[in-house]
């Protein structure tokens, strides 16, 4: 059985005594009930926290863009405008959900749901800490790639079902972009899998250390390039600027969600912001040491778990900031430039990195660059192959 959040809690005494008490109360084996309850609770918490992250993401985007452009940004609702996103959410709920007369009603209502399901499904395997991971599947990374491709289909169907030329063009661009950029992303992630020797996120992270010299990004020159390929490709997969061609305001009115309003639009926006978090989290887990805490502070106890949680979230939020920074700094690419960047530059570089990592593993027996330079460095234990 895979490690899950339930197996983490099952190690504690109070869990066992709770199960025993429940069994005596109800008169049947309460173990499955407890498992169900715990999974339900954990999923509920994760979904709500992620909705909060998505909501705060919109706030952070406005504040950071205002900062970069020397404006004030939202500052009316709450202290520093902090609960602006709640006001937006209430507004979204109150708005009328309009379905255009000529739209395909079935697909029109299905598309935002598909988007949200894809993103929330990928949260199953995102490693928040060694214990607080909803399910540490053996095929974690592979599962994440599979389930998150529902987002592309949702965007595409949303663009098609609106029956409007802007939405249609946006949807087609989104589908082409997401399918194309999946290739460099997956290939550069594969080099990390090669180093760690496993697809599960726990295996990938345990092979790294808390300090930067044990991270996979500094393991060898190839993974160093690979991180940037991964990050650029991930940006393109989330349709963020400078790759926000599917929703280019200046060309297509608002891209694939031109015809959407109310809660359905909110689903699209929420899915986008959570997906940015997921991409940043996966980049952290693969290349930047994940939840590892320096000095071995993160242990199996509750306190250690929260330290690991802090390490993971701080790194991820730094990458989140970088993503927003990109959006307000770089101009948008042209469509043909986008495809050229993917097929002529990123994909060959990613393949070269994969082969190079393989040769590095073969040549130096899995030792990292730091270990080769400072042979006495006992702290560096990266690349546990």
């Amino acid at each position: 059985m895979n490690e899950t959040i339930v197996t983490y809690f099952a190690k504690f005494e109070w869990y066992k005594s709770l199960v025993k008490a429940l069994t005596e109360t109800f008169g049947f084996n309460a173990e499955p009930l407890m498992v169900f309850l715990f999974f339900f609770l954990a999923s509920f918490i994760v979904v709500n926290v992620m909705a909060l992250v998505g909501g705060l993401g919109t706030y952070a985007e406005r504040k950071i863009s205002a900062d970069l452009q020397m404006r004030m940004g939202p500052n009316r609702v709450g202290p520093y405008g902090l609960i602006q996103f709640l006001a937006d959410g209430v507004k979204f709920i109150m708005k009328e959900g309009i379905i255009p007369k000529s739209a395909d009603t079935f697909l029109f209502t299905l598309a935002p749901i598909l988007c949200l399901v894809g993103v929330l499904g990928s949260l199953t395997v995102v490693p928040y800490s060694s214990g607080f991971i909803l399910s540490d599947l053996d095929i974690g990374l592979f599962f994440l790639i599979g389930i998150s491709s529902l987002v592309g289909l949702g965007i595409f169907l949303g663009g098609y079902a609106s029956n409007s030329k802007w939405a249609m063009l946006g949807g087609m661009r989104a589908a082409a972009q997401i399918i194309s950029y999946e290739i460099p992303v997956v290939i550069s992630a594969l080099s990390c899998v090669l180093l760690a020797g496993g697809l599960s996120f726990t295996t990938l992270i345990e092979a790294q250390t808390g300090f930067p010299q044990g991270w996979f990004i500094f393991h060898n020159p190839f993974t160093f390039i690979g991180f940037f390929v991964f990050f650029v490709g991930g940006l393109a997969e989330t349709n963020r600027a400078p790759f926000d061609l599917p929703e280019a305001e200046s060309e297509l009115v608002s891209g694939y969600h031109t015809e959407y309003s109310g809660m359905r639009f909110a689903f699209f926006a929420l899915a986008e912001y959570i997906e940015v978090f997921v991409v940043a989290g996966v980049a952290v887990a693969l290349f930047l040491g994940g939840y590892n805490v320096p000095f071995g502070l993160g242990g199996d106890g509750i306190l250690g778990q929260f330290l690991q949680l802090g390490a993971f979230f701080s790194k991820t939020l730094v990458l989140y900031y970088v993503v927003i920074w990109f959006r307000w700094t770089l101009p948008r690419l042209r469509v043909d430039h986008l495809m050229t960047l993917c097929w002529k530059y990123l994909t060959p570089i990613a393949i070269f990195n994969l082969i190079g990592t393989g040769f590095w593993l073969y040549g130096f027996e899995g030792k990292s660059l730091f270990e080769l330079l400072f042979k006495s460095g006992a702290a560096a234990t990266g690349g546990g192959h």
Partner: protein
């Protein structure tokens, strides 16, 4: 308990999706129903302990094949194009004579008799369930099998994929004059 629930839900998904593909008249909806059916089949793989196959099913079908299908529908005139007749059966004239209909009816009765009274009891006979076998860590074993026992098929499939890639690119490109 969870296994049974997962089985029921995915069986329902796959069967309803397949029926939807048959029944619906809109080709775009048919693609979505196919997606539903494929996700159901992935769930069935999970109940059988084949997690790697389930993930492959998700990656290839959801991320690749269904999007390709939808793309092709869009590039060829959309769901309600007049040129693409949806159900050819409406146009087909009545074929055959009284004799063929009688023969068809008799053979249908015979076939349903055989299916209901001879095959179904055998199918639903109790059979030993081997639930003790658990495929833990299928990924590593599949990897080892792919590069040892099935290495020829593995290599040939890579050539097949390359051929499909080049072939699709060459075929779909419009000729330039």
């Amino acid at each position: 308990m969870f296994g049974n629930i997962l089985f029921l839900v995915s069986a329902l998904f796959s069967v309803l999706g397949a029926v939807g593909v048959v029944v619906t008249k809109n080709i775009m909806h048919a693609c979505v129903y196919l997606l539903m059916s494929l996700i159901g089949v992935a769930g069935l793989y999970l109940t059988l302990g084949a997690d790697f196959v389930a993930a492959t099913q998700l990656v290839v079908y959801v991320g690749g094949v269904v999007i390709l299908m939808v793309f092709a529908v869009m590039l060829t005139g959309g769901a309600d194009s007049q040129k693409s007749n949806r159900f050819g059966i409406e146009k087909t004239p009545m074929m055959g004579s009284v004799g063929t209909y009688v023969a068809g009816g008799i053979s249908a009765i015979l076939a349903s008799y055989i299916v209901i009274y001879r095959l179904l009891p055998k199918i639903f006979e109790a059979e030993p369930v081997n639930s003790t076998m658990a495929f833990d860590k299928t990924v590593e074993k599949i990897g080892m099998l792919l590069v040892s026992d099935h290495v020829l098929a593995f290599e040939i499939s890579s050539v097949l994929l390359l051929g499909a890639l080049v072939g699709a690119a060459v075929i779909a490109r419009p000729k330039r004059n």
